[in-house]
Amino acid sequence: MSGPAPELVDLGLREAGEAIQARRASSAELTEAALARIAATDGRLGAFLAVAPERAREAARAADARAAAGGRRSPIDGVPVAVKDLFLTRGVPTTAGSRILEGYLPPYDATVVERLEAAGAVLVGKLNMDEFAMGSSTENSAYKPCRNPWDLDRTPGGSSGGSAAAVAARQVHGTLGTDTGGSIREPASFCGVVGVKPTYGRVSRYGVIAFASSLDQVGPLARDVGDAALLLRTIAGHDPRDLTSSTRPVDDYLAGLEGGAKGLRIGVPREWFQGGVDRGVEERVRAALALYERQGARLVEITLPHSKYGIGAYYLIAPAEASSNLARYDGVRFGLRAKGAAGLKEMYTETRARGFGPEPKRRIMLGTYALSSGYYDAYYLRAQKVRTLIRRDFDEAFSRCDVVAGPVAPSVAFRLGERTDDPLHMYLADIFTITCNLAALPGLSVPCGLEAGSGLPVGLQLVGRSFDEVTLFRAARALERELGPPPRPRGV
């Protein structure tokens, strides 16, 4: 491959920041290297929906001026990053992966985008995703599929597939995604990067296009645990513009990072190892658990008896909330409007018919049904009660352990097209990640090796107590210290 000096794009987020601090590299050089890497690889990878080179170059110049004056704003000042196309970016196209928002230029920035830029990070563009974050493979993007940098015939996972692929493929040094049922952790697992779904309420969702409001949470994807911890520290914390954002102070996720696993009680849910997981995945997950034990952690068998009801509860609650959230795409205030409609109602129905792809339509239909008169108690209300039971399972488990560990997904990255005709099969990819969202708890995916045979990455999922991201990062780092981060993906 021609183009950028590989050593710049290979730097992690913190390493890139340190290089700027030590004047070994400028933000402009890092930004040009990232833009060149994107230009050279993204035609095959499809991780970006929009690249904003001018905004990036201007931000890089400002970061270099601060570095020269000795006034860097943060450890990531001047480092190129990118965000899922679900985050509003003032004046930069924001589509949520949907035709209904094609060409939309938001009038303001999401809080997390503001926070990244306040820290000096250089935003280079917007990342591919399943339409309105509905999917587990990024094949539901209305624009183009994104591919897995380890094997271009496979999906990167989803819905934050672009966020995982871009950081794995060395296009940028860190990214943000969102996770409603596993949309950060599953692609992180498939692409061999670290992905974090923080506790519900830890990160502001102001300016984040809503999918299922009682589940959606924003989080980082990065090449190692420390980078993810730093990104989360940058974006976390109360935002008065988000009514669901917690006022708890943000912990210093980096301070206890090297604390190791000694003495940690790791809960292993019986239900997550009862078949349904590919053998190669289970092997790596069990090897990771054995590593923890050798480091002095204690494995505790626990039970999460309502796990198997997670998919059922989720596929009522998430579509119900989505059907309400997506009511705003009606052709009046922004986005697509179908032309030639005779009256208002026809304008609504035609706009939505043309603007939404099959998956949002399917979920709007399912959610509308679940909320419709006569069905509410049987579906939505019952699902919310099951949600309480799922949360209680975890509360009970955390009286006996400090983190829960298991697989992220039943398989490694699957092939493009393999599941697109069978939505229910696609939904089952979320079986291990979904309960964490329903219980509003923090969860993380950390690489735990490559599957024998396929050579594709496998992620270990860790779920923690409410607002205890510190323990998740420490546990993930203990594993990473033994295994080292995965090598550079071979597909790009």
């Binding site: 303001y108 954002s245 239909m365 509308t368 099951v386 039971l389």
Partner: protein, 96 residues
């Protein structure tokens, strides 16, 4: 459970979606399969269980003071409108 095409049309009307005949057939099959899967929730006895209506239980910040804060100007709010007239969003005829 099997959703009829009639029911699919009723839901589509509630959701303000116009579906093609092919979409109606596809969704009838797919939604029925999904509803069959979620029907397993009926196995559980949930009597006496409180629904989880707040994911941020006990963590929600108190309401803010009722004061006017900076917001988008009319120009900014209208900038992405498909059609406008003055400082209003323009829509097709509502009353026939």
């Amino acid at each position: 459970m099997a959703l009829t095409l009639e029911e699919v049309r009723r839901i589509a009307a509630l959701a303000r979606l116009s579906l093609s005949p092919e979409e109606e057939r596809t969704f009838a099959g797919q939604l029925s399969a999904i509803l069959d899967h979620v029907a397993q929730l009926r196995e559980l006895d949930v009597s006496g269980v409180e629904p989880m209506t707040h994911a941020l239980a006990g963590e929600a910040p108190p309401p803010r003071e009722d004061v006017i804060l900076p917001c988008l100007s009319p120009e900014e709010a209208l900038a992405a409108a498909p059609a406008r007239e003055g400082t209003a969003f323009k829509v097709p005829r509502i009353i026939e």
